[in-house]
């Protein structure tokens, strides 16, 4: 999934403003902190989002994509074990 913004479309752009949920603010803070600490970088973060399957990419929100890429990159780097987040959330 690359270059999504360049695809031709007749659909209007949704320019409405909306409030961010608490978890979205936390997601932003977490990802930026990981970058500030040198754990991951913006290019890895973008590459992780581009690795999403198209259907999944289209069906989730902006910060859900941030969650996807942060988990993906942290698993790649061995910071998180595969499935570790899911286990902790469900336990």
């Amino acid at each position: 999934m690359h270059d999504r913004g360049g695809w031709p479309t007749q659909a209007p752009i949704d320019r409405r403003e909306h409030d961010l949920a608490d978890w979205e603010l936390l997601m932003d803070a977490l990802e930026n902190t990981l970058e500030a600490r040198g754990v991951m970088n913006t290019d890895e973060m973008r590459r992780g989002i581009e690795s999403m399957p198209l259907a999944e990419y289209e069906s989730v929100s902006y910060y859900e994509r941030w969650l996807f890429t942060t988990e993906t990159i942290l698993e790649e780097k061995g910071v998180l074990l595969p499935g570790e987040l899911d286990e902790r959330v469900s336990s």
Binding site: H2, D3, G5, G6, N41, D43, E44, R46, R47, E50, K77
Partner: protein, 84 residues
Amino acid sequence: MTFAAGDDVVVSSREHTGHNRTPGYLKGRRGTVVRAHDSFRNPETHAYGGDGLPKERLYLVSFALTGGDRVLADIFEHWLERAA
């Protein structure tokens, strides 16, 4: 090859698998350099655990659209060729 404001350039249309910051809709298009930015780590290696070095020069490039509008995009030097 370095470029300066006013230089006519063509964006390379070469195949590239993997992350890159060059918009697909501009590949193969002719444009004009507006400004030379600083140099930055190369996202194509920096996105895969590399250090992104050597840094690559980044340019602001203008692409004319029919009707008088233009698209402005930041394009790395290694994606630009001098226009014939």
